[in-house]
Symmetry: D2
Subunit: 153 residues, 4 copies
C-alpha cells in the first residue's frame, strides 16, 4: 500500500491515539501494542500466545480482526478533530492465509477521510521465522462522533 | 431470522463442534461458551468482562466479531462431512449499536451450504438489564477443507 | 427474512420512492420495476434479457447487485424524513448460485434505521420455470443526506 | 496500489480475457471496454451515458460495481489455468464519492491468487474535466471453476 499524504486537524493526534488505546481492555488482553503512528496511518504489533489461538494453534481470526480493526479505527482517528470520538460502522476482512507466526503486524490506512464517514484499509502480516507474509486484508468504514460525552475517543 | 431445514451429513456434528471449540484458546480467553447446536445453526454465549472492552467500556467490536465469527463458522461446520475442516474465507460485520450489556448472545446460521463454499449469517445480541437488543450482523463465507491433517476441525 | 415493524416519518414514503426510482436511468436500462413498497421494505422485479448477461448467459452479477442495491437503498429511504436524500456508503453481496431464470425478484429490508446511518439487508431470487431460488444476499449501509439540493431523493 | 509480480499459468491469458469479455452482454449494454491487461491486473473503461444514471444524474453505483467487479474478476482470471472458469463468490464495495464525470476507469488487481480461492481488490476513478478522482474501492473473492462445461471462461 502506498499512502496518500494527509494533514491532521489536531496536532496532538498521536497522543490522543495513545490515550484512547490505553483505555481498551481488549488490547491489553491480547497483548497488542501501538507501533508507528502517522497522519492517516497506524501500526499495531502483537505476539503469538496460547490464549489467542483457534483450533489449529494459529492466531484466531478474531484476534487478527480485533487488532486490524483497531489499526484501521485509529488510522481514521488521527485525522479527526480533537473533540470527537470514532466508531466503526462496519468492516470486512479477507483471511488470505493461516495466521502462523511468532509475531504479527497490522497496518491501518485512511483511503478517504470525511466529515462524517471515513473509509480505511488494513493489512495484517505474520512474521514467521523472520519472514513477513500478508495474511489478511480489511476494509473498514468509520464514523466521526461529535458532541457525545460517552464517545469522545 | 427464520432458519431453513438442513440435513447434517455427519450425525456426530454436535460433538464435533464441541471438540473443536474446546481446542480454541481464544474462546477460553474471552470466556465464550457454546449454547444451542442444531444442523446449520450454532449459538455462543459470553459475559461482559473488563478485559474485553474498548475505550468506552463496552464490549470491544473485535470480541463481538470473534464470537460471532465462531458462531457462523461452527454453524457451517455442522453441515460438513465428518473428516473435514472449516476455514473462514471472509466475513463482514455491521456494528449496529454499542455492545452495552452484561451478557451477549451470538447466533450463526447457514444461508447456503456448498461442497466447497458455504455462506452464513450471524446476529449478535446484547442483554442489558434483561432486555435483548440486536447489536451486530455478520455475513461470513466459509470453505470446507478436505484431506489436510493440519485443518481437520 | 421476517421483517421488523417500522413507522415511516413521511406518510408519502411510497410516492417518494416511485418519484426517485423514475429518475434512475439505470433502472430503465435494465428493465427493473418497483414491486411492493412498505415501511422498511421494497421489492424490485426484473426480466432476463440478452443485454444483461455475463459470459455464460446468466444474469450478470452486476445487474443482480444493481437491482438489489436499489431495493436496499429504497427500503431505507421509506423510513427517512421527507426532505432528505439517500446515498449508499457500502454494500457487500454474496453470489450464492448462478442467476439462471426468466424473472428475478429483489427484496430489500431495513435491519436498523438511524438518524445518519441505516443498515439494510437484501435477498435476490431467480424464478426459473416457476420455481423461486435464492441466488444472492446483500448487506448495505446507507446514509441519510439532509440539506443538500443535489442529493434530496 | 502497487502491484505484486505474478507469473501467468496460461501464456494466452490476455486473449482469454478478451474472448470472455466479448461474451458478456452486460458489458456491451453499459458500453464498457477493456483497457490494459497484465498478469494479475485488468483495467476497464467506461463513458457516462444517460441510461447509466442514478436519480441525481451521476453514474449509478450498480454500474460502477458492475464494471469494477468485472475488472476484479478478469484480474483473477489472468492467473488461472487455461481450461478453467471464474465465478465471483462475493464482493464488497465502498462508494467514496458521487460518480460524477465524463469517463470512468476501473482497475482490478490480484492480492492473493489461490488454487481454489483468489482475493482481489479494485479501484474506480471518475475523470471529470480531465481530473481523475478515486470514487470507489472493492474487495472481491473469486473461485476457480474446473471441469464444468457451463463455466469455463
Amino acid at each position: 500500500m502506498t499512502q496518500a499524504q494527509f494533514e491532521p486537524k489536531d496536532p496532538g493526534y498521536a497522543q490522543r491515539v495513545r490515550d484512547s488505546f490505553a483505555l481498551q481492555g481488549a488490547m491489553g488482553t491480547i497483548g497488542a501494542a501501538l507501533g508507528n503512528i502517522a497522519p492517516g496511518e497506524v501500526e499495531i504489533l502483537l505476539d503469538w500466545a496460547p490464549g489467542l489461538t483457534q483450533q489449529h494453534g494459529f492466531l484466531h481470526a478474531g484476534v487478527v480482526a480485533t487488532a486490524l480493526d483497531s489499526a484501521c479505527g485509529y488510522a481514521g482517528f488521527t485525522l479527526m478533530p480533537g473533540d470527537t470520538g470514532v466508531l466503526t460502522i462496519e468492516y470486512k476482512i479477507n483471511l488470505l492465509a493461516p495466521a502462523r507466526g511468532q509475531r504479527f503486524r497490522m497496518v491501518g490506512q485512511v483511503v478517504k477521510p470525511g466529515r462524517t464517514v471515513t473509509v480505511t484499509e488494513g493489512r495484517a502480516y505474520a512474521i514467521d521465522d523472520g519472514r513477513e507474509k500478508l495474511i489478511a486484508t480489511m476494509g473498514a468504514t468509520l464514523m466521526t462522533i461529535t458532541g457525545r460525552q460517552d464517545v469522545k475517543n
